[in-house]
Every structure is written in structure tokens, then in C-alpha cells.
Amino acid sequence: MIFQIILLIMLAYVVGFIYFGLYRNITARIQGRYGPTVYQSFYDSIKLFSKNNTVSYGWMFYLGPVIMATGAVLTLVLVPVFSDSDFLRSVTSQGNLFVLLYLMVLGPLGNALAVGTGGNPFGVMGVVRGLTRLIGLELPFYIAVVGLIIAANSSDIVHIIDVQKTAGLNIINHPLLFIGAMISMVGFFGASPFDIPGAPQEVYSGPRTEFSGKFLALLMSQGSLFAFAKLVLIVDLFLGGADSLVMLVLKTFTIFVAIIFIGIVYGRYKVEQAVDFLMKLPTLIAVLGLARIVWFG
């Protein structure tokens, strides 16, 4: 079990960083340039781990990235990676979607605590923006998840995957829920137009403004772990999971590229515009999907 968890984290670390490298690479190609190598994020993270750190605002400041990383790792171990085999399934049977949804919010909260001690106005502003945005992001995603739970009659992710094997993929059965969840996923990934907390033209790096060296590396690592967990979650919920590594990579990558393509052609909303948008269109779509499930099965 422990071995599998460690293996899972390593897999997520590698895949997450390669995805992040691919993200930079694909973006660069669209922008008409070569871009960095795929492994660039590795280099960055190792370099950051080797940097000195002379900034301190007390223990809470150090704890913030750790809480975030904890949230990411716990999310990761609760998401079943492969649908058929028990391999890498780790502790999925111990939790369900509700625990997962709770854990996904842990990171931002830990961040808020740490940045609050940091006292940098830009960091605080970034956190406030992030939490405000979270209100908008969670609503359509939660509605979509509730819809899936009703449809599958279970909050167990493994069961939701199993249901899809017989009844067909959720993306086909419940496309409205998928669209609602995808739009909020764009925000969860921090892609435009919802990249508000860390908008460099407005608040420097937002919550990350004061973090440097090892803590920044930890934040980057947890980001890539978390990204991988979220991608797998979407694949599990809507694309029927993956039975092999190839399928896993294929499906997660498709979702990932879709998010990149949405992000690259849009600018950035202001925070209230973003919440306004998220509360209207995706929420409406998700509610329609939910209504369809409730009334028409």
C-alpha cells in the first residue's frame, strides 16, 4: 500500500511536470516560437530546491505550502487512477467524492493562512481574489458532481466508473454536466480567463509573491501533483476512467489540451466579472443538466 502510494506520487510528479512542460511548449508553438524543452519544469523545480531562503515570517508562513502539498497529495491518493486493476488504487475505497471535494479546498485555505502571515499586500490581494474566484468555480463543479452522484446512485468514484462501463460514458449521457464542470476546471487550472489570483500585471505573482526558493518549488510540485489529480478525476467522472497507462495519458492529455486551447485565446476577467460569468452560464448549464437527470433519469 505504502509502496503504491509512493509510486503514485512519483508518477503524478513526473506526469504532472511533463504536462506542465508540454503546456509551456504547446503555448509557445501557438505563439509562434520554439518554447522551452518539455523537461523545463523539472529544471526549474530542482533549481528552486537548491536555492537559498532568507525570508521568514514565522512558522505559519512555512506551513502554508506544506498544507497545500498535503491537500494535493491527499486528493491524489483518493482518486482511482486505473479503472480495472487495483494497482495504484491506493486508498480510494476509504473515501468518496465528498471527501475529495473538501480536500480540494484545503490548498487555497492553507495558502490564505500562510500569505496572511506574510503581510505582503499583493499576496493578500491575490488570496482574496483566489477565494472570491473559488466561490464562482465551485458552484458549477459541485452541481455537476451532484448530478453524477444522483445518476450513479453513489458517491464512490469507483462505482461511478463502473456504471459508465455499462451505461455509456458520462460525457455522452450528461454533456451539460460535462460542459459546466469543464468551464470551472479551466478556472481550477488557473488558465485564462480565470487566472486572476496571480495576474502579474495587477498583483505581481499574487499569493506566491513572497514565496521563494524551496517553498516556491514545493508550490510548483504540489501544483503539478494537483493538476494531475484533477485531470484524472475528470477522466474518471466523465470519460469512464482509464484501463491502461496509454489510455490514461491519452484521455488526460486531451482534456489538458482543451484547457490550454481555451485559455490561450482569452484575456483575463476581473474577479467580479469572473464570478458573475461563472455564476451565470456554467451554473445554468450544470443546473439544466441536473434537472435533466432529476426529471428524465
Partner: protein, 211 residues
Amino acid sequence: MESGFYGSSLDGNLKCKFEESGLANTHEIMEKAVRWFRSRSIFVVAYGTGCGAIEMPPTFTSRYDAERMGVVGVATPRQADLIILSGYLAYKTLRRVIRTYEQMQKPRYIMTLGSCPINGGMYWDSYNTIKKLDDYLPIDVSVTGCMPRPEAVIDGFVLLQERIRNGEKAGWEKYDENFEFYKENQKRVLGGHIDPSYETDWYNLKSGGKA
């Protein structure tokens, strides 16, 4: 200051442990690896102190694309490894630059663009610019020209990467060693008002303008 504490990626304790267990080579190899990674990933905070700022966008965008070499811009000095001072520095700017530089985490490097930070350049007789930046801050790479072309800036990056890879003594080590020298120079030219302090109403000064 314990030698190698900042310069090496691993602190002395770990080095001793390696040596005790007969793995002195491992330390060297890891050192080398870390240096390679450092050279391959340089986060830049571009402080547009002067004319050279106009050649920064071409350097970092699609035509010259510095990102393919691992050089990427970041917003805050805390996260940066390299600060690019793109041109002459007015006294007022120098105060901010010193502060920005001291906010950066070690290892940190400075690259200057243009002739003005080297010897004053076009503004050699200007009353508001400094003429010799290396008196006040340790410079790692100076790219000459007025202004340097993006190719020259990229050449500067390559030179810096080589230096990091070879483990040459970097500017911040000199800054630590000769801290008094640099601070004295800064004090001399800036008249004691070095750091923007949070107490003074820094921007509503009525100091000047005496006829």
C-alpha cells in the same frame, strides 16, 4: 561566513557525511548537477531602468525567444535568479535597484545592458545618472551596445550560463565578501538615503528645489 554555504547547493554537514562514507565524489557530482540545473533555468526579473528595456520584449517574445534556453521572466524579485538592469541608472532608480537586488534570494546574478552602466555612455556628463555601476552592485555580465541587440542579450545569457556551469565566482559572493565596500560607495553617492524606508513619506519630499 562558512565557505561554500551559499555557493554550494549542499551545506557543509552533508558534505562531511559524504566524505565520511567515502562518497566525496558524490558531493562533487551533485554539485555539478545542481550547477547544470541552475544554468538551465534562469528566472529573470527585468527592471527596465533605461533604454534597453525596449529590447526586452523582442528578446522574450517569439522572434528571439529566450525561453527556449530556460530563461523566463517572473514578476517578483523574490523568485528571480537574475536581474536585468537595462540601461543607465538614475540615483532614484539605484535606490530601488539596490532594494530589489537585496530582496532576491541567493544565488543571484546581475546583468546590465548597454554602455551606460559601464562608463556612463551617452550620459557621461548627466547630473542624475551614475557612471560606474560596479562600484555599487556586483555585475556578472555586461552586454555592451547602445542598445544591445536581442542577439547580444541572448549571448549574454549564454555567457552567464557557462559561468554558472563552470562554478565561477559570482557577483553575489563578491557582494557578500566586500559588503562594506559596496555599502560605502552606495552611501557616498546616495547621500545616506539608501533603502526606501517605510517610515518616511518617501514620495512627498520637499527636499529639493532650493534656489
